[in-house]
Every structure is written in structure tokens, then in C-alpha cells.
């Protein structure tokens, strides 16, 4: 069965909790600016995933990748959306062409910092 947003958050937090008490529901909730009871409901999938900003804070607090958590919540980060909307045809074509490419092929087009002569 596909892992839900809430169950994934709970599993990651529980794993971290084994290493440090800083990852209790109360402390994580405090760090991301929500009520502990709300975070518990999120973890039990009783409420819809939080806002983009809250998910990003949650990712930082848990040491997870923000884009990954946003995708699990069915969202795309606003900066990515803005990038696509600025040049929709170009990026739509690019994404469609890459949809079936293996990871290593996608990684090959990841942008490198160019070194020149100095």
C-alpha cells in the first residue's frame, strides 16, 4: 500500500526520536509553529496535509527533503511552479521528454557549475 504523507512523517519522526528527544511531537510542533494536537492529526492522516510553508518547515525540522515531502502531500513548491509558469512550453516539453528516463539520465542533465580558465 502507498505510504501516506502522515504515516511517512510519523515514521521519520519516530526514527529520529530514537536518537534524540528533540523529535517529540511537542518539540517538532513548537519548532514549526503548530499545535502538537494538529501535528498528531496530520500524522494520523485525520486532516489534510498542512500548507506549503509548514511542510517546508517540517522538512527542515526533520532533516528531510522539502520537495519530497511536498510531493507526498500532492503539492509542488511555489518556486518550481513559478519556474514552469515563466516558460511553460519549454519546461512542459522537457518534463514530458524526461518522464520515462532513468534516474541516472536525469541526473546527467543536472546543471554543473562550469569551470573555466583562471
Amino acid at each position: 500500500m502507498r505510504q501516506t504523507f502522515g504515516s511517512y512523517i510519523r515514521k521519520v519522526r519516530d526514527d529520529r526520536r530514537l536518537e534524540s528527544s528533540e523529535f517529540s511531537v511537542r518539540k517538532i510542533a513548537s519548532r514549526i509553529g503548530v499545535e502538537p494536537s494538529y501535528l498528531s492529526k496530520v500524522e494520523r492522516d485525520e486532516v489534510a496535509p498542512p500548507s506549503e510553508a509548514t511542510i517546508v518547515r517540517l522538512a527542515v525540522a526533520l532533516g528531510e527533503d522539502p520537495d519530497l515531502l511536498l510531493a507526498m502531500a500532492g503539492k509542488v513548491s511555489s518556486d518550481l511552479r513559478a519556474v514552469i509558469l515563466k516558460r511553460p512550453k519549454l519546461f512542459a516539453d522537457l518534463i514530458r521528454q524526461l518522464k520515462n528516463a532513468p534516474d541516472h539520465a536525469v541526473l546527467r542533465i543536472a546543471r554543473e557549475v562550469r569551470d573555466g580558465r583562471w
Binding site: 536518537e19 532533516g63 543536472a110 554543473e112 557549475v113 562550469r114 573555466g116 580558465r117 583562471w118
Partner: protein, 346 residues
Amino acid sequence: MIELLHDQLFFSFPGIHPDASLTIQFQRTLRIPDDDRDYPLPPGLGCFPLRHVDDFGARVPEAWIEHGGILLPMYQSEAMWLNFDTGYCDDRGVSYPIAIKIATGKINAITGLPWSGGLHKHPQNYAVAPEQPWLDGYCVEKGVIRQFVAMPLGAGYTAEEQLTGAAEHGGIQISAFPMKREVFERRFPKIDRSISQLRRMSLDDTMAVSEPTARDSMGLAPGGRMKQEIYEDPYDLSDWDTKSGARCFVHITNSLIWRQITGEYPPTVPPTSAEYARYGLPWFDYYEDRLSALRGSNKLKKLKSVAALGKEKNDVPLPENQSVSPEKIIVLRKGLKKNQVRELAD
């Protein structure tokens, strides 16, 4: 391979080892007073924005395109420090060692010697991460650095200009070399998963209109004195894979023209040391008793600080240089919690 990820410079060496990687953050910070007193480590105030030079070809000097690399904005007399984070190898319970060479204006920040290829131990011209978590400036004495402070290239203050008499390069140059895979695997054998977790836990617990021209290029100059040890390489020189290094030229542009180049606003002006101290905010000290500190470079020791040189020139290069008395100093031991280093707020 070098990438920009979330305003961080990410070096990876997948051909060597999947965990052989280095993330460098260019941290905004306070400029400590340049008054010949030794100050503790100032906080990190967030990362400078980093952009590909190639994205702004028509708006940056031609030499920058030739150099390649990246650019970042700094205000005149603003300070910075570098944060190093290497890839963590879970099944060995250690971070992958990376040797890092840092130069400003092609003057090595540890030896004061001109930029050269490769790694050398006599004198040691590099730092080793994760042992060296940060670099805040020029290694002028054992346990003392002079803070990296941005000054306009051509005004005579930068380390490059003081040592070579020329304002040619500016910026920051970085090379990174991973440890050879066979050496890494020999030195750090695989460990039982439960022990790996224990080791990590124990570590965690201990512890930004006219066309911009070359005139708008900035270089780094020696500022105030700060207590920071640059550690001796605890490994052998032959342990480093010098054939697999990667390098990057980091151009520094005046924050005042950052928007002309990129269309983005630069970060705000950081607080002064006096403002920071007035609010009783924390300063930091780092403690690592298992490693020896380098003696410091005589060439770098002879450099004049920005304030001292300004006085000779009858110039006031630092808008605010009031001495402060840091009261709240947080001592950090080796083995910092990830993402919790020298931050102003948790």
C-alpha cells in the same frame, strides 16, 4: 561534479564513492571589530545567494565568463565565513574526508602563498573536513585568524593586493579533493548498524543602470582577529585522491549592483557587532582537543588589517568599528549536530 543546491555549493565525487561529497555554505555574519583584540566566533546569519555566472553573461565582466563558476553579493566591509559539511557514510559511521583548498584573489588563505595545483603539507595549504567545520578568515597565527572582509578590488586592501601589488583576480577560489576510496575503506571499516547509530548519536550529543564592470568586483581583505584553529591534516598526504579534485571560482560582486545583474534584491545589511552584543546574543567557541592547530602563515601575519591600512591611507573603510565585549559565548565541541552549527536561533 559541482552543483548549486539551495544557495549551497555541492561538490560530489560519485566516481570515487557515493558518500564522497562536500557542501559549502557561504555564511553571512557580523564583522567583528578590527581593533587587534581577539574575538570569539560570530554567528551565521544565513547563506549568501549563489548564482551561475553563465546566467548573466551580458551583465558581468568578460573575465568572469572566462573564469566560469558562480557569483555572490557582498556589501563593502561585510564579512563572511565558510561552513563545510561532508557526506555521511552510514555503514561506516563517519563523514567522508575531503581536503579543501581556499584562496582569495588566488592567495591561499592558510599559507599566504600564490594559488598552485595540488596539496602540500609543508606548509599545509588545505584544511580537512569534517575535522575543520568552518573557515572564517586568514590563518595569521596559531589559533588566530583575521576575518574575511569584502573590499572593492583596486582599493588596495585585499590580501591579493597587499601581497602581489595587483588587483587582478578577486573573489574566492576553492578546490576539493576526496580521500582515496581504498584508503577510506581501510581507515574506516564497516561497522554494525547498531554501532553506527550509536557513534552518530554520541557525536550529536557531544556537542544581490550602468553596465557592471570589473570595478564592481570585490575581493576579501583581512579584518579583525578571531580565535579559530586551522587543524593539521590528521591523514597522510598520499591518502588524498588529487587526480579527482574539483574546483570553483566564486566571484564577489557589490551588493549594490546585485539587482542590476540578477534582478533580485540582495540580502539586507547585517547588524553591527555593537548592535549584536547590545542584545546579548551568542558568540561561539569551538573545541577540538584531538587535533593540532597549524602555526599560521608569516606572510599572512604581515598583512595589514582593513582598519590599520585605512588609517595609513587617511581613509575610513569601516563605517563602524566599535570594540565590543561578547558576554554570551557558547562553546561547541567537536561533533556538531547537523544543521545546528553557529546559528543565531534554533
